[in-house]
């Protein structure tokens, strides 16, 4: 079951604590402030929210923790946990719930104080007994293994990986809200400390605090709200493995399947997409997703990112807020990718604004494990 194309809309967005939160903050504090901002943005009240969608590395029963703090009594809740892609999945699940009449106004929300908690955060990953004895550094070694295999099979270069981080930084430099805005060159990336070869510390996402909230409702109700609605045109999810040892082919992700499903529902192709927000936990990720989502052939992702296409001024803008590499990465990033797509489609992205009516948001979770694709569009393409 899914919501018919264009019948559900994102109507409110909010963020809080991006970068470093107020000292002593809990994730729930940030969640509450971002929710308040999203409600104000939409012109809705807390009492309008009757569906709650959240995931967490902090709380075992996250929907219940969040509802208690916010004073919500939701009639529908979903704590689907797919890692960082969870929140893109929540959008698809919320759309289905609204279409089915299970709720009217859905709040998708997430927050983390991972940076402020440095050294104290309990990992959300249980660790495989078939991997931990070999002392990989979770999760970077798992992504490094994918990058190394991609380099071996397709001749992808170290410099091409670095281009992903450089493009993300160039976007972040146009975004006053981004956490990392110092200039960054390919040489800087290559000269930084190797964490797990071939990946250096500059190939890895940031560790920040931050929270985000997204409100969804029917396209019909969205017409009466404060902001231009951003419609959900297509949605698809897939997952293929939990541990990297069990990933069938380290150069092909479940984005092939999630993308196919999302394109089919939206009735669009890669060529129709004006901008992409791709979960860039590591520099190999956008390369894999550009290939798997049909923006280039398998193996050509390195050439595509090195061509300048994904950077400011390029023909295929990727991660226009700076992404997980330079905007923020509070443990799980998926919701921040969605927020940026909504900002862009509303025309609220300031110096980094790009043209176009269709955005693709792609979430990744675990170790390339879960892949979730959402295609969003303005009124013009609904």
């Amino acid at each position: 079951m899914s919501a018919p194309r264009g019948t559900i809309a994102a109507v409110g967005i909010g963020e809080d604590g991006i970068g470093i939160a107020e000292p002593g903050s809990t994730p729930l504090d940030l969640i509450a402030r971002s929710t308040t901002r999203a409600l104000h943005d939409a012109g809705l009240q807390m009492s309008d929210v009757d569906g709650l969608f959240t995931a967490s590395a902090y709380y075992q029963l996250p929907s219940i923790n969040v509802a208690e703090y916010l004073g919500l009594r939701p009639r529908f809740s979903d704590s689907t946990a797919l890692g960082g892609s969870s929140f893109v999945a929540h959008v698809g699940h919320a759309a289905a719930a609204i279409a089915a009449g299970l709720c009217d106004v859905a709040l998708v929300v997430y927050g983390s104080t991972q940076r402020s908690d440095a050294g104290r955060l309990v990992s959300q990953s249980e660790g495989s007994p078939y991997e931990m004895p070999y002392r990989p550094r979770y999760p970077v070694t798992m992504y490094a293994l994918a990058a190394a295999r991609h380099m071996h099979e397709y001749g992808t270069t170290r410099e091409q990986l670095a281009e992903v981080a450089v493009a993300a930084r160039a976007w972040a430099r146009r975004n006053p809200g981004a956490f990392a805005r110092d200039p960054l060159t390919v040489d800087d990336v290559l000269a930084s400390r190797v964490v797990s070869s071939p990946l250096t510390v500059r190939d890895c996402c940031l560790v920040t605090d931050g929270a985000a909230a997204l409100l969804l409702t029917s396209a019909e109700r969205a017409r009466d709200l404060r902001r231009p609605p951003v419609h959900l045109l297509g949605y698809g999810e897939a997952h293929t493995h939990r541990s990297i040892t069990s990933m069938p082919d380290l150069t092909v992700t479940g984005a092939v399947e999630s993308g196919r499903r999302a394109y089919a529902q939206a009735g669009v192709q890669a060529a129709d997409v004006a901008m992409l927000q791709l979960y860039d936990a590591f520099t190999i990720n956008p390369i894999l997703f550009l290939e798997d989502l049909g923006f280039c052939a398998k193996g050509e992702g390195g050439d595509l990112v090195a061509s300048g296409a994904i950077a400011p001024g390029g023909r295929l803008p990727v991660n226009t807020n700076g992404g997980g590499l330079s905007y923020c990465h509070p443990g799980m990033y998926g919701l921040f990718a969605l927020i940026e797509a909504v900002r862009q489609l509303r025309g609220e992205a300031g110096e980094r604004q790009v043209e176009g009516d269709i955005a693709l948001v792609h979430g990744n979770g675990g170790v390339l494990s879960s892949q979730v694709t959402a295609i969003l569009g303005t009124d013009a393409v609904r």
Binding site: Y134, P136, L145, A146, V195, S196, S197, P198, I244
Partner: protein, 121 residues
């Protein structure tokens, strides 16, 4: 393969490794290699899985080298064993290279048995 009384799959694997033996499952119904050990075949759902002792010889599928601040450099490997499964292993020092032929043997690290790879000659 093992003389030990029947154990749950993960315990069987661990017990074999403790004895220095790498034992893996194969599906008697569809011949798929099954790893990590489990009670059913993830390809065909059959519960008819058989243990066999792996020769431990295979090809490096991917590799990543780590240099801890206060310990020796080592390389984490994914190895495609000739007799089926893909397993994680480790080798001291730099990568033998993707595609290299290697042999894994069971060695202890902090009391934990694990697979250590050496280039096959």
């Amino acid at each position: 393969v093992s003389d030990a009384p029947s154990l749950a799959p993960s315990a069987h694997f661990r017990e074999a490794l403790e004895r220095g033996s790498l034992e893996l499952q194969r599906c008697a119904s569809c011949a798929s290699s099954v790893f990590p050990p489990r009670v059913l075949c993830p390809v065909c759902s059959s519960q008819d899985l058989e243990w066999h002792r792996s020769e431990g010889v295979g090809t490096v599928y991917s590799a990543s080298t780590l240099q801890p601040r206060d310990a020796a450099l080592y390389t984490v490997l994914l190895v495609d064993l000739d007799d089926g499964a893909r397993v994680m292993a480790v080798t001291p020092g730099t990568s033998p290279g993707i595609g290299a032929r290697i042999r894994v043997s069971v060695e202890r690290d902090d009391e934990m048995p694990r697979l250590v790879a050496q280039v096959e000659r």
